[in-house]
Subunit: 212 residues, 2 copies
């Protein structure tokens, strides 16, 4: 199994956590986004979208972090990253997608570059953009977590799963803007519970071989 990754990519970070939780060893192939390696012909032949992560496994070339994580969960069922009941599965996927669809892509590198290079926005305006979408998303997520008794030590119950996997990298991203996480106490509590686990700790950006 081979993972195309970049140490600062939140989406690659998610897959690293999932691999660690499953105890799966994968060869890491770094793709330096800040040096535009994702736009090289070589990389576009792997993923025409020019994004990380990509997982290669047994001839399959898989894109999109959530699709990759569900693949890992289906091919390596233990420990499960989704609960068993359809309504609970939808809850966990919904929490994960709140982050993965409605926060992260809007603040992704290519979008911030467009704001800067094409629209000529200043760094402080771009930082405010990021903070706005993170705060809006975290406020909704806090309500969904705090208002549901299925929330436990982690986003759903007392074992980490898909929602936690998406949440933690987004909190690392928020850390770049020095956001005050005490506004979202349930999120902060779950983050602390996750980071006490080796699977999350070992996946963090600074611990990757390609970290700068």
């Amino acid at each position: 199994m081979k993972l195309y990754t970049y140490f600062r990519s939140s989406a690659a970070f998610r897959v690293r956590i999932a691999l660690n939780l499953k105890g799966i060893a994968a060869e890491h192939v770094p793709c330096q986004l800040v040096r535009n390696q994702q736009h090289s012909d070589e990389y576009l032949a792997v993923n025409p979208q020019g994004l990380v992560p990509v997982l290669e496994d047994d001839g399959d070339v898989l894109t999109q972090s959530l699709a990759i994580i569900e693949y890992l969960d289906e091919t390596h069922p233990h420990p499960a990253l989704l609960p068993g009941h359809p309504g609970d599965r939808a809850r966990v996927r919904g929490l994960a997608q709140l982050v993965a669809c409605d926060i992260h892509p809007i603040n992704n590198l290519r979008v911030l570059r467009y704001l800067s290079r094409t629209l000529g926005q200043e760094q402080k305006t771009i930082d405010a953009w990021c903070v706005h979408w993170i705060a809006e998303g975290f406020t909704a997520l806090e309500a969904l977590l705090a208002g549901d008794d299925r929330t436990g030590r982690f986003c759903h119950g007392d074992e980490p799963g898909l929602a936690d996997i998406c949440l933690v990298p987004q909190i690392f991203n928020a850390g770049r803007y020095a956001m005050d996480m005490t506004r979202w106490p349930t999120i902060k509590r779950i983050f602390d519970a996750c980071m006490a686990l080796d699977a999350f700790e070992q996946a963090r950006p600074e611990r990757q071989p390609d970290a700068e």
Copy 2:
């Protein structure tokens, strides 16, 4: 079953298609986004994120269109919206997420409002923003579809599924900007195959009771 929907919402459009493909009747509750009904206390009590769609079923309140569609697929397995093999399932989810994570949220109403109201951008700049992200996404999607012999009459094989469900509303959205779809012939061919089906045709925005 109750669907909170808005006729122009691409995400609600997806769920309408899935319900039609499954032959499930759901009560439609319109939420007028242009009139900001999604920010009402009443609606935020349903979905703290203030977005459509929401599906209520048997006491469960489900958010996020992809999570809702997977729920429908798990609770009403026929016809299946995902293939059986994990690698194929990951492919279909990846294609769906290319649209649902990397095109649609960046062009969503709340983002366009931020560009206009907070950043003071003109309409032509905002239109160019939308066209940019749609074109970048469709070019990658075209490569992924045209370069894989698992693509059939639809995105994956000869039956419509999750990827087609995400693709079609995005093409309707592209239609607002008069984009030339002949640049992406495989996408255009699949769109035409989808729209020949009643499940897609009946879900289109203009056919909804809340259409203006």
